[in-house]
């Protein structure tokens, strides 16, 4: 199961692991592929999430993906990013390394777990 990181643990996560903020990629996440328009999940996966996951893995650390600070998320963006990550690295490794922080929409943690489980 992918861990979640609450607000009080954000600083702790910084100290113990790597943090990737989606808002650093874009404030306005788009659809799944580039053909859907700007800021697709596929681009976020390839240019941000996979490299960050590789770095965390080689450092023996966790990777906390911070979903806060954006305009919102379509399921296609999240599915492409996190199911795509799972198809690359495998469910066991993803669940071991990945953490999700989402204070504005806490239920996204559950959604992402589902995408990983169904990848």
């Amino acid at each position: 199961m992918v861990g979640s990181v609450g607000r009080s643990n954000a600083m702790r996560a910084d100290a113990l692991g790597h943090v990737l903020r989606v808002a650093d990629y874009t404030r306005t996440p788009g659809g799944r592929y580039a053909s859907d328009g700007a800021y697709p999940g596929q681009e976020f996966l390839d240019s941000h999430l996979k490299p960050a996951f590789e770095r965390a893995k080689s450092d023996g650390a966790t990777l906390t993906v911070d979903l806060d600070g954006t305009a919102g998320y379509a399921s296609s963006f999240l599915d492409e990013a996190f199911a795509g990550l799972t198809r690359t690295f495998g469910r066991a490794e993803v669940e071991q390394i990945l953490r999700i922080k989402s204070d504005a929409e806490p239920y996204l943690h559950e959604d992402i777990q589902q995408y990983i489980a169904e990848a």
Binding site: R27, R32, D36, G37, Y73, S75, F77, Y107
Partner: protein, 324 residues
């Protein structure tokens, strides 16, 4: 005293007599403009009066294939933005030489609702295909059209709508808009074409409702999904399952399909489920989806078949209540 038909050609006389017979069903041909006038139902709303309103819209669409049409709204007493958006969308698909005009409701409340959503600018001023206007901005309504998922626009419209309503920013409304835009981009068009979506955000101050309406005049979500899940012949049952976020519904969707087919469907069907989930999570007040032969009001638990030829395209409607 000369007959009123004096001087007209035989074809014109036949046309007028046909029109006179049709006037019993609300269709009247105005000989001076050659436009067929079609009276809208007094409760002009797809989400609240689906049968009558969808039947009216289908009549307008069919009439537009062969003549100019005047969408007469003067008898409308209750109107919602979804019906107006559908008219605008069909007007936008006109061929050269076709014309859709209309008039405003006589009822004060209905007329105000029509005027404030920009319908007058978009339809009454629209004459030919090359003169499309996709942009409307009023104090309480925004209407746009486009292709693909326009993330910046989605954020802007949600911000504007929530500001007009005095509500916090609605994350789920942004999410829903992106879901709808990408669905249209990927699935609405026939063959290699593209379909433009159209959306409207309105703040109904009288009833204190912030409403989002999204529509595309494409194949309709039921028809496209049935290509992958042919075991469903009933559009309303299929749409109800697509909008059911429970695991059992997803299992029902996949039941009977070979595993090989399932693996080729990464992430299929999540968009509508997420929209429906946001209702159950208390982020939205109402969600209604109409597509092909189906009407589903998620919160009310209503899944109904539309009579006649059904609805052209897909329409998604939601109201913002408690905001995420």
């Amino acid at each position: 005293m000369r007959s009123a038909l004096h001087g007209l050609r035989r074809t014109q006389i036949r046309s007028l007599r046909r029109a006179a017979r049709s006037s019993r069903s609300g269709r009247v041909v105005n000989p001076s403009t050659r436009a067929v006038e079609i009276l809208a139902p007094s409760h002009f709303s797809i989400v609240d009066n689906p049968e009558e309103t969808v039947a009216y819209l289908q009549t307008v669409r069919r009439a537009l294939r062969s003549s100019d049409v005047r969408a007469a709204l003067r008898g409308v007493q209750v109107v919602s933005p979804d019906a107006l958006l559908a008219l605008i969308t069909y007007a936008d698909a006109l061929g050269s030489g076709q014309r859709l005009t209309g008039d405003l409701p006589l009822d004060d409340g209905a007329r105000q609702a029509v005027e404030t959503c920009g319908f007058a600018e978009l339809v009454l001023g629209l004459e030919r295909k090359g003169n499309r206007r996709g942009f409307v901005e009023t104090a309480s309504a925004s209407a746009r059209t486009g292709h693909q998922a326009n993330a910046k626009l989605a954020e802007e419209l949600v911000q504007r709508g929530c500001a007009a309503a005095g509500l916090p920013y609605s994350l789920v409304s942004y999410s829903n808009l992106i879901e709808c835009m990408t669905n249209t981009n990927n699935h609405a068009a026939h063959e290699q074409g593209t379909i433009a979506w159209r959306l409207m955000v309105t703040w109904d101050e009288a009833n204190q409702r912030l409403q989002f309406v999204f529509m595309d005049p494409g194949r309709g979500i039921c028809r496209t999904v049935k290509l992958r899940f042919p075991q469903f012949s009933d559009d309303s049952e299929l749409l109800r399952i697509l909008l059911d976020p429970s695991v059992s519904a997803l299992k029902k969707l996949w039941a009977g399909l070979p595993a090989r087919t399932r693996t080729r469907q990464p992430g299929r069907g999540r968009g509508l489920r997420k929209i429906a989930q946001s209702l159950k999570r208390g982020s939205l007040r109402r969600v209604v989806v109409i597509a092909n032969g189906a009407y589903v009001d998620v919160g009310a638990g209503i899944a109904a078949r539309l009579k006649g030829h059904g609805f052209q395209g897909t329409l998604v409607f939601w109201e913002v209540g408690q905001v995420a």
